[in-house]
């Protein structure tokens, strides 16, 4: 991570150079977008929520403490926004669904023809997406941060504002939950 660069950008922002925020977006947009897609399973929602994440970050960056990492702070905003989005009001959710549909992320992104190898990876991606969708948002967040974003337990604890013990137990529970759903791909024959 470019921690020193982040601190420099934040200081410039706090001094009043608000335009530097675009550099922060450019640096972290892919990671935040990736997290949101795996949390929500839908490209349209992911783009909205990633956008909301950065808008919230802009509004609160003045209060950011430089002893924390910028990316874990951004991840925290993104995860909370995703969880809040899942709890959106009933009417809003049905209107949104009819407007965008709940297509599979994999279907939306890759329409390329599938040779054998691609087909296998496609199947795994589908299975992962389905399995993640079944987990509760908290367990999903922890497993995405670990397995897809590659964060350490300490970074996850920092991101989610929980203890390392809680992270350990959530990761174990999430893996136990995924075990049945992914057994076709994981169990030894």
């Amino acid at each position: 991570m470019h921690r020193n660069d982040d601190i420099e950008l934040i200081n410039s922002f706090k001094r009043g150079d608000k335009a530097v925020f675009e550099n922060i977006i450019l640096r972290y947009q892919d990671r935040i977008f990736n997290l949101c897609i795996h949390m929500l399973g839908n490209i349209h929602d992911a783009e909205d929520i990633a956008q909301d994440t950065f808008v919230k970050a802009y509004q609160k960056l003045g209060e950011f403490q430089p002893d924390a990492s910028l990316y874990t702070w951004l991840y925290r905003i993104a995860v909370n926004t995703c969880i809040d989005h899942k709890r959106r009001p009933f009417f809003e959710s049905i209107f949104k669904r009819s407007e965008t549909g709940e297509e599979s992320v994999i279907d939306q992104v890759s329409n390329a023809p599938a040779p054998d190898k691609v087909c296998e990876s496609h199947q795994i991606q589908h299975a992962l997406q389905r399995a993640l969708a079944i987990l509760s948002p908290k367990l999903r967040a922890v497993i995405i941060l670990k397995e897809i974003e590659g964060l350490s337990y300490e970074e996850i604890a920092d991101t989610l504002d929980v203890s390392i013990g809680t992270v350990k137990s959530r990761i174990s529970r999430a893996r136990d939950g995924l075990k049945v759903l992914l057994k076709d791909f994981t169990e030894q024959k």
């Binding site: 892919d30 990736n34 670990k146 994981t186």
Partner: protein
């Protein structure tokens, strides 16, 4: 180390988050316990599966859209118009519901004096003769009356 404790440590072991002493104890248990080593292998396979997870990139022009969003948020302040819009939506909803209730009540009230009474009277059973004397029912009734008299 027993199997129960080993099971709890599978995830930290796979993620490389175990202390050296715990890792050694874990590995020595694995050598002697086939069930635990299979469980670890399955968990490792699951972990490896995530290598297939697609890595998405933000769409083109994302940062520009966010900056435009921020600029529009700044001009609208704490979004009073949005608040007023929501309030107006709620008011309109209540107006529709109450006008429905009131107009329904009004229509029913209008029917009451004349039309409703004619409707209720037309539904009265008194207008029907249950068994005219010539009909089969009428003959049956007269026969039962004669029998009762006897």
């Amino acid at each position: 180390m027993n199997c129960l404790k080993t099971h709890k440590l599978i995830s930290p072991y796979i993620d490389g988050e175990l202390k050296v002493t715990d890792r050694k104890a874990f590995e020595s248990h694995m050598k002697s316990c086939r069930a635990c080593s299979i469980a670890v292998e399955n968990a490792r396979n699951q972990h490896n599966l995530f290598a297939y997870a697609k890595q998405f990139k933000a769409p083109y022009g994302f940062s520009t859209r966010v900056m435009a969003d921020i600029a529009s948020e700044k001009t609208t302040g704490f979004s009073l118009p949005l608040l007023l819009t929501r309030f107006a939506e709620v008011v309109v909803l209540f107006v529709i519901i109450f006008s429905g209730i009131i107009s329904g009540g009004f229509l029913a009230g209008n029917l009451m004096p004349e039309k409703l009474s004619s409707v209720t009277s037309s539904l009265s059973l008194d207008v029907f003769d249950p068994a005219p004397p010539d009909s089969l029912g009428g003959v049956y009734l007269s026969m039962t009356e004669v029998r009762d008299e006897k």
